[in-house]
C-alpha cells in the first residue's frame, strides 16, 4: 500500500527490479493462491536463489515454503512459530468448525487409508464425505451448515465433484499448506484420539515422548 514496506524492504532493496518482481510474484502465489503453484510457472520458484529470497520473506511473517509432490510449492506456518502460538493457547478456529473438519478428515482420509485405497502421503483425498456421514454427530444441523460454510470459505474443505448423493465434501486445498511436521502431528493426534489404547497409539506416544497412557496405573 505504501512505497516503503517496513518489514520486507530490507530484504527487497538489494534485488534488481526484475528479481524483486519475480520474488514478490512467487511470494504472492504461494501465500494467496488456493492451491499449490507449479514450480515451472514462476521464476521466483524455479531459480534457487530467488526462491531463497521468497523463503526469507515468508520467514519474516512466520511462514515457510512447503513442497508439494516435488513439483509444486505453497506456504504454511513455520513449525516454531506455530508451536509458540499454540503454547500461548492460540486457536482461532471454533470447536464446532474443528469438529466438522475432523469428521471430514476421518471419512475422506483416515477410512480410505484403512481400506488401503489412498496412495501418496498427504491429506488430499477424492473420497467424498457425505452430509449423512456428518449428521451422525452431536452437532445441530444449523451449526453444521454454518461450520461447513466457514470451512469452505477458508479452503479447509471443498465441495466434492461427486454430487450423486447430494452435496459432499473433501479436504480443501489449505491442508496442503501443512508442513511435514504438522501433517504428522495431525496424523498422530487423530490416532491418539480414535484409538488411545492401541499399540499404534502407544508407539506414537513413545516416539513423541508424550505421556504413556493405556498401561495399568
Amino acid at each position: 500500500m505504501t512505497e516503503q514496506h517496513a518489514l520486507f524492504d530490507p530484504l527487497l532493496q538489494d534485488l534488481s527490479d526484475r528479481s524483486r518482481d519475480e520474488v514478490l510474484a512467487a511470494f504472492s502465489a504461494v501465500q494467496y493462491a488456493a492451491h499449490p503453484v507449479a514450480e515451472v510457472q514462476l521464476a521466483g520458484l524455479r531459480d534457487v536463489t530467488l526462491r531463497r529470497q521468497v523463503q526469507r520473506m515468508l520467514k519474516l511473517i512466520g511462514r515457510t515454503l512447503v513442497h508439494v509432490d516435488g513439483t509444486h510449492w505453497t506456504a504454511g506456518y513455520d513449525d516454531d512459530i506455530a508451536s509458540s502460538l499454540v503454547a500461548q493457547g492460540w486457536q482461532p478456529l471454533s470447536v464446532i468448525d474443528r469438529a466438522v473438519l475432523v469428521l471430514v478428515l476421518v471419512h475422506s482420509v483416515a477410512i480410505p487409508r484403512s481400506e488401503g485405497i489412498l496412495t501418496g502421503d498427504s491429506w488430499k483425498s477424492a473420497r467424498p464425505t457425505t452430509v449423512d456421514e456428518l449428521r451422525t454427530t452431536r452437532i445441530s444441523g444449523e451449526e453444521r451448515r454454518l461450520a461447513l460454510q466457514r470451512l469452505r470459505a477458508a479452503g479447509l474443505i471443498q465441495l466434492s465433484g461427486d454430487h450423486s448423493g447430494g452435496p459432499s465434501y473433501i479436504p480443501g486445498p489449505q491442508l496442503q499448506r501443512l508442513t511435514p511436521a504438522a501433517r504428522r502431528r495431525l496424523q498422530d493426534q487423530l490416532i491418539l484420539a480414535a484409538a488411545p489404547a492401541s499399540p499404534i497409539a502407544e508407539a506414537i506416544r513413545a516416539r513423541t515422548g508424550g505421556p504413556v497412557e493405556g498401561e495399568d496405573a
Binding site: S114, A153, L186, Q187, I191
Partner: protein
C-alpha cells in the same frame, strides 16, 4: 470371500495362510497347491457331492457338475482329493466308479476361508474361550489345566515370534500387511490371562506352567509394541492412519463429543478466510448487477405466518425449496430441458437452473440435479442449446 474377486496382493495373503495351514496336512514338501483358484475347484467338487445325495458321483459326473472349470483341472483335483482320502469309493471294490466325499475337508475349507479373511484372530478368540470353558469344567483335572496352559503358551510364543521376526527382517510393506497380527491383541491377552487365573486358582501347583504362559504373553505384547513402533516410524506423515481398523474410525466419528473431535486439531494452525475485493472487482460487480437487475417476484413461501424471524440462511433454504417445488409441480422428477423451455428466455432459464443447482447443493434440501451426456439442440427454442438432465426429489 470368492478368491477370484481378490486382487493379487490379497491372493498372496490368502495363499500364505493356506500354505501355513496345509503344511501340517501335506504328506511331503513341494506338494502344496500354488494357485488359490484350485481351492475353488475343490469347493466346487465338494459342493457337487453335497448335491449328489447318497448315490455319490463318478469322476465324469463330477466334471459335468463342475463344468464352470476346465475338465482336466477337475479330474486332477478329484484325484488329489482321492489320494488324500477326502474322496473315497462308495464301496471299496475294484470296479466301483462312484465316490463319496467326507465332510471334514469341507469344514476345513470353510475354516480356512475365515482364517484368510480375518487372519485367524477370531479363531484364536474362540479357541481361548474353549480353553476357559474346559478348565472351568468340574470334571477337569490338573492335567487338563496343564495341557491347556501348555497349548496357549505355544500359541502366544508362535504369535510373538512371528511378529518379532517380521519386525526384525521384513520390509515395512510386509509388516503393514501383517498388521492384523497386532490388532486386537489386548483382548487376546485378556482372554489368555483369564484362563491363566482360572488355572492358577484351581491348581496352584501349576505355577511354573503359568509363569511360562505369562512370559509368552509378555513377549507377544512386546513384539506387538515393537511392530507398532516400527510401523509408525516408517509410516510417513499420514500413512499410519491405515494401521487402524475402519471400525475404530467409524466409532470415533459417531460417538465422540465435538470437544473430543476438535481436540484432534490442537496445535495446528490454519489460515482465516481472507478474500480480496479490489475496487476494480467492486466496479465490475456493480456494473453487472445494474445491467441484469430487472423485476422479479418472490417465489411463494410455504407459510405466511409471522414466526420468529428465521436466520437469513433458513430463509434462503425455504426460498430454494419453494422454487424446487414450483419446478417439480407435484412430480417427483422433471426433465431439465423441459424446465429450460418452460422458462422461455435464456436469462430466466439460467436463473432457474442456478436455483436448482443451489437446491441440489444445499445440505438440508432433498433434491438432486443429475446431468446426462446428451444435448438438445433446437434453433426454435428460447434456449437452443440445452444439456439434458433430471431434477428430482431424493427420498430422505
Amino acid at each position: 470371500m470368492d478368491a477370484t474377486l481378490l486382487d493379487a496382493e490379497a491372493e498372496a495373503a490368502v495363499l500364505r495362510v493356506y500354505r501355513q495351514v496345509f503344511a501340517v496336512l501335506a504328506r511331503e514338501a513341494g506338494a502344496m497347491i500354488v494357485d488359490p483358484d484350485l481351492l475353488d475347484a475343490d469347493q466346487a467338487i465338494l459342493d457337487a457331492f453335497a448335491e449328489a445325495g447318497s448315490d455319490g458321483l463318478t469322476v465324469e459326473q463330477a466334471t459335468l457338475a463342475c463344468r464352470a472349470y476346465p475338465h482336466d483341472v477337475i479330474v486332477r483335483r478329484f484325484e488329489v482329493l482321492r489320494q488324500y482320502g477326502a474322496i473315497t469309493k462308495l464301496v471299496d471294490r475294484p470296479n466301483e466308479l462312484r465316490h463319496r466325499a467326507a465332510f471334514a475337508p469341507y469344514v476345513m475349507l470353510m475354516f480356512l476361508r475365515r482364517m484368510s479373511v480375518q487372519g485367524g484372530q477370531a479363531e484364536l478368540h474362540q479357541l481361548l474361550t474353549l480353553e476357559a470353558h474346559s478348565v472351568s469344567d468340574p470334571q477337569a483335572t490338573a492335567d487338563d489345566g496343564k495341557a491347556s496352559i501348555g497349548r496357549m503358551t505355544k500359541v502366544f510364543r508362535l504369535l510373538g515370534n512371528e511378529l518379532a521376526i517380521l519386525v526384525a527382517t521384513s520390509t515395512t510393506a510386509q509388516l503393514r500387511e501383517n498388521a492384523q497380527l497386532a490388532w486386537g491383541n489386548e483382548r487376546l491377552i485378556e482372554q489368555a490371562e483369564k484362563v491363566h487365573r482360572l488355572v492358577l486358582d484351581r491348581w496352584p501347583e501349576l505355577h511354573r506352567d503359568c509363569t511360562s504362559l505369562r512370559m509368552a504373553l509378555a513377549a507377544y505384547a512386546d513384539a506387538v509394541q515393537l511392530a507398532a513402533g516400527r510401523l509408525v516410524e516408517r509410516a510417513g506423515t499420514t500413512r499410519a492412519l491405515g494401521l487402524l481398523p475402519i471400525e475404530t474410525w467409524l466409532t470415533f466419528a459417531r460417538s465422540s463429543e465435538p470437544d473430543t473431535l476438535a481436540a484432534v486439531l490442537d496445535g495446528l494452525l490454519f489460515d482465516a478466510a481472507a478474500p480480496d475485493f479490489s475496487p476494480q472487482t467492486m466496479v465490475e460487480a456493480v456494473e453487472t448487477g445494474r445491467r441484469t437487475g430487472s423485476a422479479r417476484m418472490a417465489p411463494p413461501r410455504p407459510t405466511a405466518d409471522a414466526d420468529a424471524p428465521e436466520s437469513a440462511a433458513a430463509t434462503d433454504r425455504e426460498d430454494l425449496r419453494a422454487e424446487a417445488e414450483r419446478v417439480l409441480a407435484g412430480r417427483s422428477a422433471v426433465d431439465i430441458v423441459e424446465v429450460i423451455d418452460e422458462a422461455g428466455d435464456w436469462v430466466t432459464a439460467r436463473r432457474v437452473l442456478a436455483e436448482l443447482t443451489a437446491a441440489h447443493l444445499h445440505d438440508e434440501l432433498e433434491y438432486e440435479l443429475v446431468w446426462s451426456d446428451g444435448m438438445r439442440i433446437d434453433p426454435a427454442a428460447g434456449t437452443p442449446w440445452a444439456t439434458e438432465g433430471v431434477f428430482r426429489r431424493v427420498a430422505s
